[in-house]
């Protein structure tokens, strides 16, 4: 699984961090999403899918 984020779409709602804290963080100075790992291991895949479903700005995509 490969995670792609689009920073300029991100509205810093923090939903991705709630869904998958090991994959996403928020930048301190503007709250924009930070991708901690581009290829999360399988056991984090469900959280990543939740993050995709919960991101209000449609800023997260999963490839493969």
């Amino acid at each position: 699984m490969k995670v792609v984020i689009e920073e300029d779409k991100c509205c810093a709602a923090g939903q991705c961090v709630a869904a998958a804290p090991d994959v996403f963080d928020q930048r301190d100075d503007d709250g924009i999403v930070v991708l901690l790992t581009v290829h999360p291991p399988d056991d984090l895949a469900e959280g990543v899918r939740d993050a995709v479903a919960m991101c209000p700005a449609v800023a997260i995509r999963v490839e493969q």
Binding site: V17, R27, I32, P56
Partner: protein, 413 residues
């Protein structure tokens, strides 16, 4: 702009929006709204208070699609924008651009001035402070008169204290701004009342920012003051931002605490489940998402103006027309939440629309979540005998406010 059908030509026989809730079921969205959702059309035209005929979106999928579409604008002055009240309509003509009424890159610029103050990691760090305030308020409640109005004892002071702390607004002034914040959300206010309340609150915030430019603290208004001083932001722009946060920051959470408590007291099995699991942060967090879904405090939102034609579900929505994405209807859409009329605190509900959807989704949602998790995890554990001190039928529900809730909730223990 594309050609627009005159409202008078299409309004004949259209369903009226909003419709009233059923008295026996004040927690559920209006039955007529749910009927519209069940027609199988995800967007329908409705007639609103001023005779205009915007589109109403009622399904979870259509609302998510529309609210993240850049062809929809949050600009309340744009042609076709479906205003909630007379006051808003009047106000829209001389509205300053800000976080809530701009789009695209301009909106991002506004939003990013605030997002650092409300990130999830930051809000999690506030949990001990929120817990302390909650415990204090409950101590006071237990030591005071019984029964008591939960709004006054807990629901309002908690979010109010927190947003004051974050913004750097002196809590001593709470009687003043709570009154004005309540007036901001009232649906049937006159244009003059709306304008006056806005003016008074903005002046108040501008005064505070002014003072913080000289003596900055660690709070949002000081950060805004710094930007004003650096010339990145005008005072006329900074004050409305502070105003929006102050109003949005306490009225909505307060309504959620009161309404959520009433709902749980009416659903003893779910309440028992919550109480049993109150030591499990995950279970409590999950319960809060379900309460948010079920109750959908901003029940008359979200509203947009269409700036370029859109095709959705076989309909063409044209530039210059309005869209209301009914958040309660989307949150009660069985396609997204099976058996939506059941409160089920174990349900996976975090994709709900209670904070809106799209780039305008609530900036303060992670703060609200921590507050609600602390309150609902603490209140019933500390006061296991809590009960309504009146009949549900006696309660005054806030049909007339943009933020749904209950005016007074007498509780006893």
């Amino acid at each position: 702009m594309a050609e627009k059908v005159a409202d008078s030509e299409v309004s004949e026989g259209l369903p009226k929006y909003p419709s009233p809730r059923a008295a026996r079921c004040p927690f559920a969205p209006p039955p007529e709204l749910l009927e519209l959702r069940d027609t199988g059309k995800s967007v329908v035209r409705v007639e609103t208070w001023d005779g205009t005929t915007p589109w109403l979106a009622t399904t979870h999928a259509a609302e998510r699609e529309l609210l993240s579409d850049p062809r929809l604008s949050a600009n309340i002055g744009a042609p076709g924008y479906p205003h909630t009240t007379e006051a808003m309509k009047e106000h829209s003509a001389h509205m300053q651009p800000s976080i809530n009424n701009t789009d695209g890159a301009e909106h991002s610029r506004w939003r990013r001035m605030l997002t650092s103050s409300f990130t999830r990691p930051r809000m999690q760090k506030l949990r001990p402070a929120i817990q302390e305030i909650t415990d204090d308020l409950i101590d006071k409640m237990l030591a005071g008169p019984n029964p008591v109005d939960l709004n006054e004892a807990l629901s309002l002071p908690l979010p109010s204290l927190m947003i004051c702390e974050l913004l750097g607004v002196p809590y001593e002034d709470h009687a003043f701004f709570q009154e004005h914040a309540g007036a901001t959300n009232a649906r049937f206010k006159t244009a003059e009342q709306g304008a006056e309340t806005t003016r008074v609150l903005r002046e108040y915030i501008a005064g505070l920012i002014e003072a913080k430019i000289d003596q900055p603290g660690e709070d949002v208004l000081s950060d805004l003051g710094e930007r004003v001083k650096a010339g990145d932001l005008l005072m006329e722009e900074a004050a409305p931002l502070g105003h929006i946060l102050l109003v949005a920051g306490h009225d909505t959470s307060a309504n959620m605490i009161t309404l959520g408590t009433a709902l749980l007291l009416e659903n003893p099995a779910q309440l028992a489940l919550l109480r049993e699991n109150s030591g499990d942060p995950k279970a409590v967090a999950n319960a809060v998402e379900e309460l948010l879904r079920y109750l959908t405090i901003p029940h008359l939102l979200a509203r947009r103006a269409v700036v370029a034609d859109i095709e959705i579900d076989g309909e063409t929505i044209r530039a210059g027309e309005g869209v209301i994405a009914s958040l309660p209807a989307g949150n009660w859409d069985p396609a997204a939440f099976p058996e939506p009329e059941k409160v089920d605190l174990t349900r996976k509900a975090s994709h709900h629309l209670a904070f809106g959807w799209g780039p305008h989704q609530c900036v303060g949602q992670q703060l609200a979540r921590v507050e609600l998790q602390v309150v609902f995890g603490t209140l019933f554990r500390r006061i296991p005998t809590l009960r309504l001190a009146t009949d549900l039928a006696e309660l005054r529900f806030k049909e007339d406010s943009q933020a749904y809730g209950i005016y007074e909730l007498p509780v006893a223990w």
